[in-house]
Symmetry: C2
Subunit: 240 residues, 2 copies
């Protein structure tokens, strides 16, 4: 946090406290007000520009992030260079959770900001003693980890048993819930075919064909870099 001219302070401490209370992140749930203040005091708010890398798979997991504003997502890159396994990190979610482990570890996935974002950052050697002091943090982390496992299991079952069209439809549905902006005639999604392809584990050609078909059927409107979805539910239902 810079404090003088030219400098910008990301957020003041009281802004942070207000925002965290508003978000009520799972990770900080159940802490007494004064304990919460201690934990927050150990974090620094940090701003990330859209599309910047927050944490890198394989690098030493030395920072824990809590999203405050904006949106990020995680992904892995396979040896062939394909991005996959994309999990969204909205405000109130944590990223880089491996920093919380008692053994030093490497990040399991990469995290990048999608929009301009702000996250609270704890250094590993700041958060670890706090976790020991407030075991509730560990309990919360365990709940979050358990959610991850569930998400991955679902993802795995989906890629194994669902058709490409269903997967793409589901991705659109999730995106609509997550980053969709409601407007006059449906939910607007600013996303490229390529990104959809990565998330659904299909090729850009398949995405293009499916979107064209759904466009024809009036289920959505596609234009370069954006999709407007009438009804995500119907889309999933009608995707064979």
């Amino acid at each position: 946090m810079k404090t003088k001219s030219g400098a910008r302070r990301v957020m003041t401490n009281s802004e942070i406290v207000d925002r965290v209370n508003e978000l009520a992140p799972d990770f900080l749930g159940g802490l007494a007000k004064s304990d919460l203040a201690v934990v927050l005091g150990a974090a620094m708010p940090r701003r990330f520009h859209a599309r910047s890398l927050i944490a890198s798979e394989g690098h030493r997991a030395d920072k824990l992030y809590l999203m405050i504003e904006g949106l990020a997502r995680t992904f892995t890159t396979t040896r062939e260079g394909e991005k996959t396994v994309i999990i969204w990190v909205p405000p109130a979610a944590v990223a880089g959770g491996r920093a919380l482990l008692s053994q030093p570890m490497e990040y399991l996935v990469s995290t990048e900001s999608v929009t301009d974002s702000v996250a609270l950052v704890w250094e590993r050697n700041a958060i670890l003693p706090l976790a020991r002091r407030y075991p509730r943090l560990l309990e919360n982390a365990l709940l979050i980890a358990s959610d991850y496992v569930e998400t991955y299991r679902d993802l795995h079952v989906a890629t194994s048993f669902d058709s490409a069209s269903l997967r793409v439809a589901r991705v659109l549905g999730n995106l609509a819930k997550g980053i969709g902006q409601r407007s006059f005639e449906g939910t607007v999604l600013n996303i490229s075919n390529e990104e959809l392809a990565n998330e659904a584990n299909v090729t850009i050609f398949t995405v293009s064909r499916l979107l064209s078909e759904w466009h024809r059927k009036g289920l959505l409107v596609k234009s370069r870099g954006s999709v407007v979805i009438r009804s995500p539910e119907e889309l999933v239902r009608r995707a064979s």
Copy 2:
């Protein structure tokens, strides 16, 4: 372990302590000897016959298991009734980890014993206070959870990007390491085509064709219900 006619005591307390020390399970790592005794004192050893269900997906997660003898595995059943996502639970591994969460939850996957097995069982309401008393247990649980996430990620990447033959070869390799019995001419695996198919997410036909091919090439010997693998490494290497 029978003590007298009809009656059977699974294990004596000192046998349990010895066995746990021998296994050094991650979950109990770093506990002082006396603390360990307290934690073990809260568990009951229980015997499971081969192929019996230990925990059921979707049921209330009220018991935590620590494998002591034998072998178990986890799986999910999709709506179409396919078994998938099989993770092995050898001695020293935990099962039913969701019982450890501070919020009551349901089991995420089912667990079944493969061979005759013995597991230590903690009731959720016995282990939760212990976890609070010894936060090291939570730290350990978090490490284990983190491993699960890694396993699932790898599984997901594999099903998305690896060919069927590579997946089957990998499954054979893992099994060889896990439950394989070394013998004169390779590692013996008692497993049916159907089980292989479930684990690798392919059909029994594909399994049969691949095994035949590898048999022809001299990489393994297949007979009903068992496979003998010369060299798991070479198998994975030569699977396109």
